[in-house]
Amino acid sequence: MRLITKKHIPRRAFLRGAGVTLALPLLDSMVPAQTRLAQTAAKPQFRMGLCFMPHGAVMSNWTPPGDAANLELSRTLKPLEPFKKSVVVVSNLAHKNAAPAGPGDNGGDHTRSPAVFLNGVHPKRTDGADIRAGVTIDQIAAQQIGQETRLPSLELAIEDYSGLVGSCDVGFSCAYMNTISWRTPTVPMPMEINPRVVFDRLFGDGSTAQERLERIEQERSILDAVTGQVRRLQGGLGANDRNRVAEYLDTVREIERRIILAEKQNSISGINVPATPAGIPDDHQAHTKLMFDLMAVAFQADITRVSTFMMAREVSYRTFPMLNISEAFHPASHHQNNPARLEQLTTINTYHVGMWAYMLERLQSIKDGDGTLLDHTLMLYGSGMSNSNIHNHSPLPILLAGGAAGTMQGGRHLKYPEETPMANLLLTILHKAGVKQESIGDSTGLLTEV
């Protein structure tokens, strides 16, 4: 029941008058005994950002021409030109568990593609509450590298389909399509589309850094005063109520711990916390970029090291007036091999890759230890589907980028034998994150070349 920390300096006095960008040295006594911040600051920390796209891609325009160590970008991948040295294109991977398991499991490809994407596990066909998929690699990694940060993982998305219950595949719960992250085989992680909500989770309420600091200070004072008040109340209480109060005090201490972590984030110098967003921007591009900004700053401030991002939802009917394409995403993805329509879909694919390139740019622009944030991050971009016209799941369009904290070299195109399990890549990513498990989903081994 005792607070397991080293002796604390009273932070209230300590923080008084602190400005917008604090550059306080982290005193040892401000570090709670149970966290290993000292170590984590010394060694570059591995981060992973896993991004999902629905509806595959026009593979003929996606796959780079050569398979050499010298990456030559294809038409769709052109937006990645400035980051070519950091990008690895992985070809010929397959998610066979995204396909129907047999007769009676027909259709449902739009449901399985996101459900399988990060675990390689065939989801149970049900539209009831008994949903079942596999634990995804982001959540496995979060168990390992996410425990020292305030948020073990961060789940982001763009499209809100909450008003469309019943629009999911026949025989499947909508839950499968609404997320790409599963904490346990039965617990999907909700994805957040509102940047304001994400922001508040990362930094707490308050429109400026100054205000957030004030708030932290205020909360600390409140907790101190509350403890004093409870002490006075103790006298008149019976045993049961005392237990209840003890429970309450425990929670107060846990909050204190979280506030210490929040203080730490706010005291890292040089972080440009974006302005508090008002809500969901109407403009798709602005919305996507803002979500990437938030992911980047969450990595930078070490609020989280693991993030997933559903850049669009399966069967999305988003239209792209800014690309002069009036057809919605899903109908456009059923191109029927019509050249004009293939052209349209390629334009949409390229646009999305461009959004991802924006994230690489963000990461590259942020210093992190002895390099940039991009050096210490592994970014994944891909789809659980290949040819959206016929709903197949091989070969998948898959990209990697970043130095992955010294474990990955970019500028390459790795061409594997056809039908190589995508789960092999998932397993490889886990190993890079330091999680040495033996298999995941339908994996058969590691992709050591990656």
Binding site: M1, R2, L3, G163, L164, V165, G166, S167, R196, G204, D205, G206, S207, T208, R215, Q218, E219, S221, I222, A225, V226, G228, Q229, V230, R231, L233, Q234, G235, G236, L237, G238, A239, N240, D241, R242, R244, V245, A246, E247, Y248, L249, T251, V252, E254, I255, R258, T276, A278, G279, I280, D282, V315, Y317, R318, T319, F320, P321, S326, A328, P331
Partner: protein
């Protein structure tokens, strides 16, 4: 009370005969006639040897009933409801059975009167609804507590049960965050950052009708009361519903869509007609974006609550589309774009360029004084914070209560904060304080542990107001409690009547009735579109409104609670009247009507209850039977055993079986039969009401057969007979309602030792024709409500550890 109904007669009929013989021998050992009755009709199955239902009455001493109170309470329950002895077994006449029950009750009640056990009350945490109401009363501020706090767990049928209202770190974080946001909004902190509030319309709302609260002569839309935190500019956006292809409803004709602010039109957009329709068809996304832009308006608003609304101006009463729309619900086809434009959501963004804060209800409530000079500041701060703390802590405040508050105030004030900012800081502490969040009831120091005592007047004031209002006590209650007068019977009775007459007693409908009657489930029912194509959100809302108004009328008019079963009136609007087939009712507003159809009388004729006890595609006699057994008769059936086979659906080609026939097949299974024999006939009596409470004569082509024999022996042939059976046992129905009411009032599950208190309220109530106020007074005057047992104090070491 965890007494469950399992009407299995002992099935070993061979042994039955033997035991009946031996019963005669046993009777000789006991002299009283009650013992003989018990032995003759009960011990047959409930013997030491058979222990049917896990119960033996063989050795229980009728001379010392209170010692076996827990068992005897179970016996009384079964006897009173008529469930024992079960059908098919020998039964004495009714008078003899009720004589036996009365004998046992008399003995238990006498013992209770001499030595009442008020039970164990655990310290309460305010639940989410109570928290929101407390903020409303403390700060004159309406908050969306669902956005600020997580939902509470439920137990014993209610979400205010102390035992399960726990605290967790994430909850504590939310409380801190809520206190920060609320204190800023209440004071009107100029630094409040712009944010977006989104109000959504349920997608199954039919928007071809007038919506109550919107201007007459309009259709569909949404109206919200939004609290604007500061004086400044706000952006109001209205987004029309669009289907998955981004196509919008109603664009083939011109429509006028208006946005209103405090009842005045601030924007109007004419949209639709051939050119627009073609434009939409050519590029739906661009067209939609353009329309969103047009339906965006910037307003200057003063701080405080304002009404914002959006709707479509009615262009004509001629419903040309009705020819092709056979259903009342307009959203049956999720792709259909004919009909009227439909509002999908309304958002309010801001404040931008805020200019400060003008007078708001919250500021009027908080700033009871205004310092004009520096020297007036501290006394004024004391006055403001003293008043806030008194209401928030629900007791007079002493100097040492003010100390921390003033230190919060002073610190912020010294730190270049304004006077208001100082108050805001102290207010945040009050809202995060355990004295606000928990309901402490101190044990008196001068009595020994284990002793029973009357709670003090302040604790009584809180219990009363959380029971009747789901909120903190008002000034009058606190004053009377501070003067130690509240417990005086005449004062107390006057206060209870005053509180019931106050609109705040709507909380009894919202929190007690809605949970007791399962009305809260209505918002998540989704009747099958193919089976019930007329069901829409308009009907869902109307169903809930009817039962709420109905319950409220019984409360406000101080009617007999038996009217809940029998009343010959109800409340409908046009949508619900069409559902019931009541002619001549027009418009969206509700009105009281006389119920001419006997079958529709009381709760059992209301679509809300009939819908929450149905499956999406059909009725469920089992659910309805279970609902009545649990909520009206107090004998919930056992949960079903695992691996119960599903009912067989009617197959292609074969003769369709009625639901009754299919359920009879199910009941052939002996494991299922025991409970279903009890549940099903009750549910079948309501089979003339379909899955959304509409009257019907046949189902799936088979004629409805609503007849059956109830577990207590009476024959029923439909809802009227069922209602009459329930009304014929007023003590049972009222007793169950009192159990629920006492559970809710105490915030704890009831135990066997609470039953004498329940019976007393029923007996006293009977003398007052079961008037609502007399039932409430019965609860308030019960020892469980007014007394406590002093708990053993915690050991010194525990206390020391608590404080580090």
């Amino acid at each position: 009370m965890a007494v469950r109904l399992n009407a299995n007669p002992c099935r070993l009929l061979g042994i039955v005969a033997l035991t009946i013989l031996s019963a005669g021998l046993l009777a000789a050992q006991d002299s009283t006639s009650q013992r003989a009755l018990l032995d003759k009709y009960c011990v047959t199955c409930h013997s030491d040897k058979l222990r049917t239902g896990g119960l033996s009455l063989q050795g229980l001493d009728l001379g010392h009933i209170p010692e076996g109170a827990e068992t005897w309470e179970k016996v009384i329950r079964k006897l009173r409801v008529g469930a024992m002895p079960p059908q098919g077994m020998p039964r004495p006449d009714k008078a003899a059975l009720s004589g036996l029950a009365a004998y046992i009750e008399g003995s238990l009640d006498k013992a209770y009167e001499a030595n009442p056990n008020p039970g164990q009350a655990t310290m309460h945490r305010l639940n989410r609804a109570e928290y929101a109401n407390a903020i409303r009363d403390l700060l004159a501020l309406d908050i969306d507590s669902t956005a600020l706090l997580p939902p509470d767990d439920e137990s014993s049928g209610f979400d205010n049960i102390a035992e399960v209202l726990k605290v967790s770190p994430s909850l504590m974080e939310r409380y801190l965050s809520a206190s920060w946001n609320i204190s800023r909004e209440a004071v009107g902190d100029k630094r409040i950052a712009p944010s977006t509030a989104t109000y959504r319309v349920r997608p199954d709302l039919s928007q071809d009708q007038h919506i109550d609260g919107l201007p007459l002569g309009t259709r569909g839309g949404i109206v919200v009361e939004h609290t604007f935190p500061l004086d400044g500019e706000y952006v109001i956006k209205v987004r029309l519903w669009r289907n998955t292809f981004d196509l919008m409803r109603g664009m083939e004709d011109a429509h006028e869509i208006e946005i209103n602010f405090d009842g005045a039109r601030i924007d109007s957009v004419t949209i639709g007609g051939r050119p627009d329709f073609l434009k939409m068809a050519a590029n739906p996304g661009a067209f939609g974006a353009e329309l969103d832009q047009k339906l965006t308006v910037r307003v200057h608003a003063t701080a405080g609550p304002h009404t914002v609304a959006a709707d479509t101006v009615l262009r004509s009463h001629a419903f040309k589309d009705d020819l092709v729309k056979p259903f009342l619900r307009t959203t049956v086809d999720g792709l259909d774009i004919t009909g009227d434009p439909s509002v999908d959501r309304l958002t309010v963004e801001g404040p931008f360029n805020s200019t400060g804060v003008s007078d708001t209800p919250s500021r009027r409530r908080i700033f009871v004084c205004r310092p004009s000079t520096q020297s007036e500041e501290l006394p004024c701060a004391k006055k403001i914070l003293g008043a806030l703390a008194r209401n928030a802590y629900r007791r007079p405040v002493a100097d040492n209560d003010l100390e921390p508050l003033l230190s919060f105030y002073q610190r912020r004030r010294n730190d270049n904060g304004s006077f208001d900012a100082g108050i805001e800081s102290a207010l945040q502490f009050i809202l995060a304080s355990p004295e606000f969040l928990f309901r402490f009831e101190d044990d008196p120091a001068d009595i020994p542990a284990g002793a029973r005592y009357r709670i003090n007047d302040l604790a009584l004031a809180s219990r009363l107001s959380f029971f009747l209002w789901s909120t903190i006590p008002d000034g009058e209650l606190l004053n009377l409690a501070s003067q130690k007068k509240l417990h005086e019977p005449a004062v107390l009775e006057h206060q209870v009547k005053r509180m019931l007459a106050d609109p705040k007693s709507d909380a009894l409908t919202e929190n007690f009735a809605e949970q007791w009657l399962f009305l809260r489930n209505l918002k998540s029912v989704a009747p099958n579109l193919d089976t019930f194509p007329d069901f829409d959100d308009n009907l869902r809302q109307a169903m809930k409104e009817e039962t709420e108004l109905f319950f409220r009328s019984i409360l406000r008019e101080d009617r007999s609670v038996l009217d809940l079963l029998n009343a010959d009136y109800t409340f409908v609007n046009e949508r619900l009247a069409r559902h019931y087939g009541i002619p001549g009712i027009y418009g969206s507003q509700f009105r009281r009507v006389h119920v001419t159809d006997e079958a529709r009388r009381g709760l059992l004729g209301q679509a809300s209850i009939l819908t929450v006890t149905s499956y999406p595609a059909r009725t469920s006699p089992v659910q309805r039977g279970k609902w009545i057994l649990t909520n009206l008769l107090g004998v919930p059936p056992q949960p079903p055993p695992p691996n119960v086979p599903e009912l067989k659906e009617n197959g292609e080609g074969s003769k369709p079986l009625s639901l009754r026939e299919r359920m009879e097949l199910h009941r052939a299974n002996a494991v299922c039969a025991g409970c279903h024999k009890v549940m099903d006939p009750i549910g079948f009596a309501l089979e003339n009401f379909d899955g959304i409470g509409q009257w019907r004569k046949d189902d799936d082509g088979a004629k409805i057969d609503a007849s059956g024999v109830l577990f207590e022996g009476s024959r029923v042939d439909g809802p009227v007979a069922l209602r009459k059976m329930l009304a014929s046992r007023p003590d049972v129905f009222v007793g169950v309602m009192m159990e629920k009411l006492l559970t809710y009032a105490l915030g704890r599950g009831l135990e066997y030792y609470d039953m004498p208190a329940v019976r007393k309220t029923v007996q006293d109530g009977a003398a007052n024709n079961f008037r609502f106020s007399s039932m409430i007074l019965g609860v308030v005057n019960s020892p469980s409500f007014q007394m406590k047992v002093k708990k053993a104090s915690a050991s010194a070491t525990v206390a020391a550890e608590l404080l580090h």
